[in-house]
């Protein structure tokens, strides 16, 4: 398998101390618990990486699961040349799947017929992650409502949504760099607290 040939120079110096290094060999040796460990360790970050890219949670989940299945299937057949490069290998597999899916969608979209338009609308309106979305929106709304000044809300919007740079925002709103950092830090701290509360509430 070409994908297995991850260059040995990719190995991090402390790779031998990393427990994930052994996973590749254990999976190849037929240790089923190592496969579970691999999924537990890498499914969530892989899913995040794919969600970040493809924006469609359902599709990201399918791709992340496929990536895990492919990695396990490959490792069963032969271990990595450099077990320390397992994260790189997983990323590569996930990215290949994502790019393949993206190309497939691009090909399907070459003729913008009614079906495609309807599909696009349906995707936009998809309520697949509506519960999570509502909870997230509600937590962020609370954070925003607690911000002392309208200007602080504006900072977050300009930074995350308008993707303006910090210097640009500071100049525009006549802010000090420290004030900017403080608003961002406090918003994240508060959100973290609300999330922990939410998790406790949900058992």
């Amino acid at each position: 398998m070409g994908n297995h040939s991850i260059n040995s120079t990719d190995q991090a110096p402390d790779a031998v101390d990393n427990p994930s290094v052994l996973l590749s060999e254990r999976i190849h040796a037929g240790d089923r618990s190592a496969e579970t460990e691999l999924v537990q360790q890498f499914l969530r970050p892989t899913l995040f990486m794919l969600q970040y890219r493809c924006k469609n949670p359902a599709q990201a989940e399918d791709l992340a699961q496929d990536a895990m299945a492919i990695v396990i299937s490959h490792l069963r057949k032969s271990p990595l040349e450099n077990p320390g490069a397992l994260p790189k290998y997983i990323r590569q597999i996930a990215m290949n799947l994502f790019i393949g899916e993206y190309r497939k969608q691009q090909r399907q979209q070459t003729s913008a017929d009614q079906t495609t338009i309807e599909q696009a609308v349906a995707e936009q309106a998809s309520s697949y992650d509506s519960v999570v979305q509502q909870q997230r929106a509600s937590a962020v709304r609370r954070v925003l409502a607690e911000l002392p000044k309208q200007r602080d809300r504006q900072i977050l919007r300009l930074f995350y949504l308008a993707e303006q740079d910090k210097d640009e925002i500071c100049k525009r709103l006549k802010l000090s760099s420290a004030h900017f950092d403080r608003v961002l830090y406090r918003a994240k701290q508060r959100l973290r607290k609300l999330y922990v509360q939410e998790q406790k509430k949900n058992g």
């Binding site: 990393n18 994930s20 579970t36 999924v39 537990q40 360790q41 890498f42 499914l43 969530r44 970050p45 892989t46 899913l47 995040f48 990486m49 970040y52 949670p57 359902a58 989940e61 699961q65 994260p87 790189k88 997983i90 990323r91 599909q119 349906a122 998809s126 309520s127 697949y128 992650d129 509506s130 519960v131 999570v132 979305q133 509502q134 909870q135 997230r136 929106a137 937590a139 962020v140 709304r141 954070v143 925003l144 977050l156 919007r157 930074f159 995350y160 949504l161 993707e163 950092d181 961002l184 830090y185 918003a187 994240k188 959100l191 973290r192 999330y195 998790q199 509430k201 949900n202 058992g203």
Partner: protein, 228 residues
Amino acid sequence: MTNTDQQRRIDAYIRGKLDPKSAADFEEEYLQDAELLAELELAYALKQGLLDEEYQPEIGIRPAWWQKVRNSLLQPAGAFVATSAIVVSTLAFTVLYQSRSDLLMDQQGLTAFQPDVSIVTFSRLRSARENTDFSAIISPDQLTSGLAILEFEIDWPPKPVYQVKIAAQGQGQQLEPIVVSVKPDDRGYLVLAVPATYMKAGDYQILISTADNEVPKQEFSLRVNPTF
């Protein structure tokens, strides 16, 4: 790397400001660093939450046009127009009701039908596990990934939107019910993603209704088993 530098990297990644090589390095890093991933998820949630809020204004915040309407209704002339409109609408409805009561009866006849919830699937491996007895199975990967997928197949009636309520049952369950409006997908399934922490082993009451309450609510129990 200091905490501030790490936060800068996180924000740069979330905002798509890292070059491809740095982004790839960063992804390899958080693939094996749970703490970094948690920080990243937080920043991402903040961004997505801001985005959600941008497109779903909070109820209670009135847009500018509403303020204008409200102000005009507070004027004597505006109040007169509004009252007249209500009286005319009521009269028109009464006439329609008396002349076309046959139509309304037919509409009521629809209540004889009920949504047929024929399949409930509760698994990330959606096609792999189906339960027709409304029992569901929770898998270890659901607990680690943070999301549990619930699918309901709705045979009838084909409504554009359904209301789904999920309420944990029994003692010891202190969870607030989840109520959400769901559009069926192109297969006719209602698909919901709920936090895996919510769907713990135990009994749940599921209530499905149409948004307009035109048909009776469909209620059934769902038992979640803890292991395969």
